[in-house]
């Protein structure tokens, strides 16, 4: 490979920068889209379910049943809608108006008095939303336990539970899911930006025929590639700074790690994302195909396989292996650690190694596929 000519590189970078600055859509991608996406992900994805709408069918007027209703209504997790018939409530659940139904049958009090242990409260949940259904079952059980202890206390007994689980969450004591979702979201947002920005740039030159003009100049392969990477790297880093600012200052997510580590990891990650976008663009040579490829290979894998919402350990072995080639996996884990736990050396080094290897892989592949001929 011929030597880099700094002047030529500078000229090419300037040309590329002008293209970025003069096209309002690049600015939209780098600065407006990240903010929108961060807000959507940070506030709309709320895994801490509260105020879930449930239906209540209480056919028993007895005091124990009334007390259960009061317990349910007092719970901050539920918004109780009383119903008059089981069928009516089930239809409302089918339409998604309520997510669960609690049924207390008419013979509840009498069975409770008999004390055979067959006084049953039934909970129906909407299994079409498995996560919500599991939450409803768990919170209904919690309310049920509270109610039982209340009943026992009235009878004068003070049953102390045999086992007491003391839960404590490290780094995020109040269990705000935003605190780990926002750092994870930054990884997804940056994947999107990196791939979106670069996936079209080479294909555009081919389609518009300007590649031919570019190849007629003495530009070398390395200069060509670097002129595509450097301006977009700077744009990506600016977007990263913006993401950090928005999440720390506007969304109140604590950042406890070192900025130097964040800078280093972001650089490696952008190397992967830009490299992947450039590769698709170089190989596919058509904006339509590159766009489709970038969308499918950047957005959904980063959302599904990065482990930021969906636990990687729960996936089948072969998919766990597949997540290892998704850069967002290492970046999401690094960001969640840097934001919440601080600078945990060993973990971050492993992630940096993964990102570094992937960066070499994508950039190498792009360099290998970049031709200086029109074929």
């Amino acid at each position: 490979m011929k030597k880099l000519n700094p002047r030529r590189l500078w000229a090419l970078c300037r040309k590329e920068s002008y293209q970025i600055v003069r096209d309002p859509s690049s600015i939209l991608v780098a600065f407006i889209l990240p903010v929108i996406l961060l807000f959507v992900m940070g506030y709309a994805i709320n895994l801490d379910a509260d105020h879930m709408r449930i239906g209540l069918l209480r056919e028993d007027p007895g005091p124990a049943a009334v007390r259960l209703e009061q317990t349910l209504r007092a719970s901050r997790y539920f918004e109780v809608h009383a119903g008059t018939s089981r069928d009516g409530l089930v239809t409302r659940m089918a339409h998604g108006e309520i997510r669960g139904i609690v049924i207390v049958k008419g013979d509840f009090t009498s069975k409770l008095k008999q004390g055979h242990g067959d006084a049953a409260i039934q909970v129906l949940t909407d299994g079409a939303e498995p996560n919500t259904a599991a939450f409803i079952a768990a919170y209904a059980r919690g309310a049920f336990d509270t109610w039982q202890q209340g009943l026992a206390a009235d009878l004068g007994a003070h049953p102390s539970p045999a086992l007491d689980l003391r839960l404590r969450t490290w780094f995020n004591p109040s269990n705000v899911s935003r605190n780990f979702l926002v750092p994870g979201s930054i990884a997804v947002v940056m994947t999107i930006i990196g791939a979106l920005l670069t996936s079209l740039v080479v294909a555009r030159e081919w389609e518009r025929g300007t590649m031919e003009a570019l190849l007629a100049t003495p530009v070398t392969k390395a200069e060509l590639l670097m002129s595509k990477i450097i301006p977009y790297y700077i744009l990506g880093m600016l977007a990263m700074v913006l993401c950090l600012g928005v999440s720390v200052f506007l969304m109140g997510v604590p950042f406890r790690g070192s900025l130097a580590a964040l800078f280093g990891l972001s650089t490696l990650f952008l190397g992967c994302a830009l490299g992947m976008g450039l590769f698709l663009s170089t190989v596919l040579r058509s904006q339509f195909n590159a766009a489709l490829a970038a969308l499918t290979s950047a957005f959904l894998p980063a959302l599904m396989l990065s482990g930021f919402v969906f636990e990687i350990d729960s996936m089948p072995k072969i998919l766990q292996f597949l997540t290892r080639i998704i850069p967002a996996r290492y970046f999401a884990s690094s960001l969640q650690t840097l934001f919440q736990a601080g600078t945990v050396g060993a973990l971050l080094w492993v992630n940096a190694l993964g990102l570094g290897l992937l960066m070499l892989f994508w950039l190498g592949l792009t360099a290998w596929k970049t031709r200086r001929t029109l074929d």
Partner: protein, 364 residues
């Protein structure tokens, strides 16, 4: 005139499907995603590692550890010998959850006092951690119940439509909607922009076709792609993954066509306001990512802040996913789904007419 429209539609299909690469790009990702995502997108916790610091060593704690190791949630138990090692296991993400049995655990239990167990969660993964802690507490509750007295009343939970809360039954119907979104939007949004960039748009304008016909010609392939891709994933879901299909097939197809129309409207609207393919592509993205996030697929819409709930009202995905889930799991017929179908049609009408207006203005 219909003949001309047909010619235009055929030409559009030739443009999209004539290129081998473009054809592959419309088929391969759909197949791959259908193969991969149902296994990945699960909020269940399985095969995770549990770190245990057992200061007690008594019979009760050993019994409990054995029971925990038999659950599907924890495939690996890492025994640690001090607080520092416990902290390190969490810090390095080697364990999802850490338990500590204090020294007097077995003694308290034997003497009828409340025995404490400390559970530590990793806040970086607090959602999975809470789910895992739920599994652990179930083990503890069962153990406690075996030793305690029989309660007078019981709570029984039944999950309708999906008795075992299979995550795949939730993911696959949603994927029908999410994956088809990409193909349909790209095809419609980039179509006009591409003609504009290549200069063939002027040729189209001097042809005897009116703007409305041109738009129809651009919308039909998008709808067709949505229906074909959607049907493929639906068939894979029903036969490949065994998700029960209880509802009506005509409703499913109607839903797909309406959804395709709504998407084509959005795509053409984006196309008519963008100058080149890059802008159209970015527009698609700026629409799609929030649309997926706000559709209720990841988290229920009613948990979102008010503002996002309003935005979700305009999101075609938030109607199509319930239709799909209804068709698959809830035995939906047209009567159950009407309240979901008409908003899709309304979105399609609004976006298509807006696109047509902008289109006409561009020409004038």
């Amino acid at each position: 005139m219909l003949n001309r429209l047909l010619c235009l539609i055929i030409k559009e299909f030739q443009v999209i499907l004539g290129d081998t690469r473009a054809r592959t790009m419309l088929i391969m990702p759909v197949v791959l995603q259908t193969l991969i995502f149902p296994f990945a997108a699960t909020l269940e916790v399985r095969n995770s590692t549990l770190a245990i610091f057992n200061q007690d060593g008594g019979q009760a704690s050993v019994e409990l550890i054995q029971r925990l190791s038999r659950t599907a949630a924890f495939s690996k138990i890492a025994m640690v010998q001090d607080d520092g090692a416990m902290q390190e296991a969490l810090d390095q993400q080697k364990a999802l959850l850490a338990l500590r049995f204090p020294m007097d655990f077995s003694r308290c239990l034997a003497s009828g006092k409340t025995a404490q167990v400390q559970v530590l969660l990793d806040g970086r993964r607090s959602n999975s951690g809470q789910i895992a802690a739920g599994y652990a507490s179930q083990v503890f509750q069962d153990y406690g119940a075996e030793r305690g007295a029989q309660p007078a009343s019981t709570l029984s939970v039944r999950n309708l439509y999906n008795p075992n809360l299979e995550f795949k039954w939730h993911v696959l119907p949603s994927l029908v909607a999410i994956i088809t979104t990409i193909g349909c939007l790209i095809v419609t949004a980039l179509s006009v922009a591409r003609e504009r960039e290549e200069g063939t748009f002027d040729q189209l304008l001097v042809s005897p076709l009116t703007p409305a016909y041109i738009m129809a010609g651009k919308a039909v392939p998008g709808v067709a792609i949505a229906v074909v891709q959607g049907s493929f994933i639906a068939v894979a879901a029903a036969w490949g993954y065994g998700v029960p299909f209880t509802g009506s097939v005509p409703l499913l197809l109607t839903g797909m066509v309406f959804y395709g129309l709504a998407l084509a409207g959005v795509g053409l609207f984006i196309s008519s306001i963008s100058e080149n393919q890059q802008q159209a592509f970015l527009g698609v993205f700026a629409f799609m990512a929030p649309a997926v996030m706000l559709s209720g697929y990841v988290a229920p819409i009613e948990n979102m802040p008010r503002f996002f709930q309003w935005v979700a009202i305009c999101d075609p995905l938030s109607y199509f996913i319930p239709i799909l889930k209804g068709c698959f799991l809830k035995d939906f017929g047209f009567r159950d789904a009407w309240h979901l179908l008409w908003p899709l049609l309304a979105i399609a009408l609004v976006t298509l007419s807006a696109a047509l207006r902008l289109f006409r203005r561009h020409i004038a």
